[in-house]
Amino acid sequence: MTVNVTTSKHREDAPEGRVEDRRLLTGKGRFVDDLKLEGQAYMGLVRSPYAHAKINGIDFSKASSSPDFIASLTGEDLLKEGVQPLSQNPWPFQKRAKRYHLAVGKARFAGEPVAAILVKNKNSIEDLIELVEVDYESLPVVTTIEESKQGNAIIYEEWGNNASLTSEVKKGDAEKAIASAAFVIRAKEGIARQAAAPIEPHAVLVAYDGKQDSYDVWATVQSVHGTRDKLASELKKPKEKFHVRVMDMGGGFGSKGAQSYPEAPLACIFARRTGLPVKWTATRSEEFLEAAAGRDEYCDITLACDKNGRIVAIKASVECDSGVTGSQAHMPTMTIETMSGPYRILNQDITVAAYVTNKMPLGPVRGAGGPEGCYFIERAVDALAKKIGLDPIEFRRRNVLRRDGPGEGEADFGLLLDTLVKSSHYEELSQWRSDLYSKFRVEGPSHSSLIAGLGVSLTGSDESEDDEDEEDWSGGSSGAESKPWQTGGGSGASAGEKWAGQPAAEAKAPWQAGGPEKSASWQNSGESAEKRTWAGASEETLGFMSETARVTLDKDGSVKVYTGSSPHGQGEETTFAQLASEELGVPLGSVTVVWGDTTLIPKGIGTYGSRSAATGGSAVVDASRKLKAQLLARASEVLGVEPNSLEMGGGGFASASRPDAVLATLADVLQKQRADEVSSSSVFTLSGLSYSSGVHLCALTLDVELGKVKIVKYFVAEDCGRMINKTIVEGQLHGGVLHAVGGALFERLAYDEEGNLLSSTFMDYNIPTALDSPDVQVFHETTPSTVTLDGAKGVGESGTNGAYAAVINALNDALSQLGTGAELNMVPATPDAVFRILNAKRVKTPAASHLLSS
């Protein structure tokens, strides 16, 4: 056997196709609803048609006369069983409330489950649901933040009002800085309630073992461990009684994350009571009615800069319509904690207040508060740039830090902006924008109704605040001239542009006149990034920073990677195999990744919050390195040499001085040690957060006649650290961007004044189709993370975080050319909303005057 043990790391090129794809492409994927157990029964949920109603009684007599009927459950039955309320994750800012799997006493949102039935025949589920008679007494309904504040109805009587959460970020003196600032803008912005909408609906299958009093649970969840722990606490049984599994899963986007949903515990109760396997699969409408939604945040923001174009203060008040209390409530807090983005703003006064309403609970949806924060600040940054007459890219350049040469850790936003401007051919796009507008002006809207807009946004945070060394950032040379905001240059930047709105005497840009005002605290703001972002972090948050892995080597040379992560599209079967292959020097094809099973992997956290490549990947690297050390120690015993004189790779061991002469294979060593398998494990905790940073550019056209927006080009310059697999990274960004494009232009969970959901199918809730979607182009900088072992930074949500702002900034850039003051700040910017904004500002178009007069 010839094995070359090289001293450098074994690196195979990323495979051309993913490991997981073959079964998914041939119809052999294993999704929960694909499973069938002998004699399985089907669970159906009776849902409240009222958003707020007292439940006076539930009558199953008609339903139970059907031969298909097996059993029923109500909220009262759950109380008798001693079932605990749906778990709420500890989040120090949120008030707590008891909400049961089936409504007890009253229903608090339209679609809330009030009873459950078990039936024999899948086709009969909905027939029998219809036969359950519930005596409701409707109550006054709270459907908006205003109504919730007024308290025309109190959703949780024990609270006395409807306020559920407050939090704040304060720094410096925002009030004072705004009062003395050269330029100030104020805007009201908002993002409507939107759905995660994975294409696979939620599903669960439970089998009960009466002898062991244990449950086999297959569920569509992003964390089998979180689901197991919640089942154990809600049903008051030891964790070991629940074997929770997930195999393939059709997307999650947060809605299958650490939520507490009623279905799995209800199915467990039915399975125990009847001895039958119990299956439940949501219809799409149930998915819209109940799966946690996101956004629904509104912001009143004031942003101020000095005469040099340096942002000096932000004051913002965010309000969130949270629906009824959910199990996760960190999203509005995330919004305010991420709102300052990559900008170092010395004076901040940002508050958030959430209010409960008679709607389904909010939960994390791709970005989980991040897209909102980014949208709020990036809209305001554009407005401020416009006010002082600076190109939006140039204005941003002056407010981000610039690194001198290659580095590690944080991204260099100056470099990302350069990359974006160059790679997107920004100047040509600007020319295209001007040309379209000229055509529109010359030919008139009835002949040429399209105008164009360009929009930029930055996503990521300034995590350098604990970096005391100013030299790292100041370009290396001394003196004020080298400060990053002074350089101004770069292609596409409009250095020397005049300062609109300034008296003529001050029209000369300050950086030309000899440098900005000294801002002593720029380098010295004392608070660390970690403290700022995770103030009040709970144990749950600490769990979020950790992940588990176990790596085993079999005597046949095959490697298994067990991970607490839970891939459902992110491609970890490929990327984690790459990491183990690289660390252990074994062929990629010999590595199998195992996940989603609480018996095989007793501890784990899961896949959400852009954490898998960063945190899960680090655990895989850590476990692999430990395994390698163990194997070297074993080999040294077998060979009678010092471990550090050996190298391992290519399936064998060699002397470090002669890597081409193999002394023993892995199999030799295992055989001599009489080991069938050796393994090492890791519970790895990151010392800090590690997220990707990005700079987005959206180019779109607006049909002034119809209000229709079409995204023509979309570019992202991204720094996600080391890319384990470039193709997968780009796929994450493509999908992340489109999620937010849908959110920016189409998606709204609409309710009527009675709290009925009006958009409960894909007909009414429009997620983008291939025709609505831009060809997203991604460019990379790869500054390795200093806190992850694989150098990767979390990228799953980055695209979504940045794209709302880029799209709406581009739309407003288009609108601004009309000179009417028309501005759109409430998302989604549906054609209807754009049309109304256009015409509210009296853009006279033939179609508009016709339509509005009729």
Binding site: L24, G27, I199, G251, H734
Partner: protein
């Protein structure tokens, strides 16, 4: 109001080249017959209202959203599902193209997209990107942003054209 219990009905059709039959309630959807009775679970249900396209199969050579068709309506039809695309271990060129171009992430919508992509290429062997986007408009995907789906269909078109020219 309880619906009248209807009599079970016999259905027979050809699925992936194999003659199959079964006894179903008349209201049984084709997709449920395929998934539950035949055990071909590669065809997925994403919305039950005909919007998402995850359940797309070929019925007599044309794409059809199988959650919008009753099993009894497919009596005597020839059905092609995702399980019928590969020849043994050899992937169909469109499967191969999705694999090589990262045209899927979670894989749930993929079987439907393969069918719509294939149907497009059977009618238009050399589509533009715009035509590809139009061809797969009825299939929703939440993961890929469609970028690599379009690339995959484009690559499949090329390899299928070359396969044909090569006399395959």
């Amino acid at each position: 109001m309880q619906r009248a219990k209807s009599e079970a009905t016999k259905v027979a059709m050809k699925v992936n080249g194999k003659q199959v039959d079964g006894t179903v309630e008349p209201r049984t959807l084709l997709v449920n017959f395929i998934r539950d009775d035949l055990g071909l679970t590669g065809t997925h249900v994403g919305c039950d209202t005909g919007h998402c396209g995850a359940c797309t199969v070929m019925v007599d050579g044309k794409t059809s959203k199988s959650c919008m068709v009753l099993a009894v309506q497919a009596q005597g039809a020839e059905i092609l599902t995702v399980e019928g695309l590969a020849q043994g271990d050899e992937l169909h060129p469109i499967q191969e193209a999705f694999w090589k171009n990262h045209g899927l992430q979670c894989g749930f919508c993929t079987p439907g997209l393969l069918m719509s992509g294939l149907y497009l290429l059977q009618r238009n062997p050399d589509p533009t990107d715009e035509e590809i986007r139009r061809g797969i408009e009825g299939n929703l995907c939440r993961c890929t942003g469609y970028v690599n789906v379009v690339k995959s269909v484009r690559a499949a078109a090329k390899s299928m054209r070359e396969g044909r020219e090569g006399g395959a």
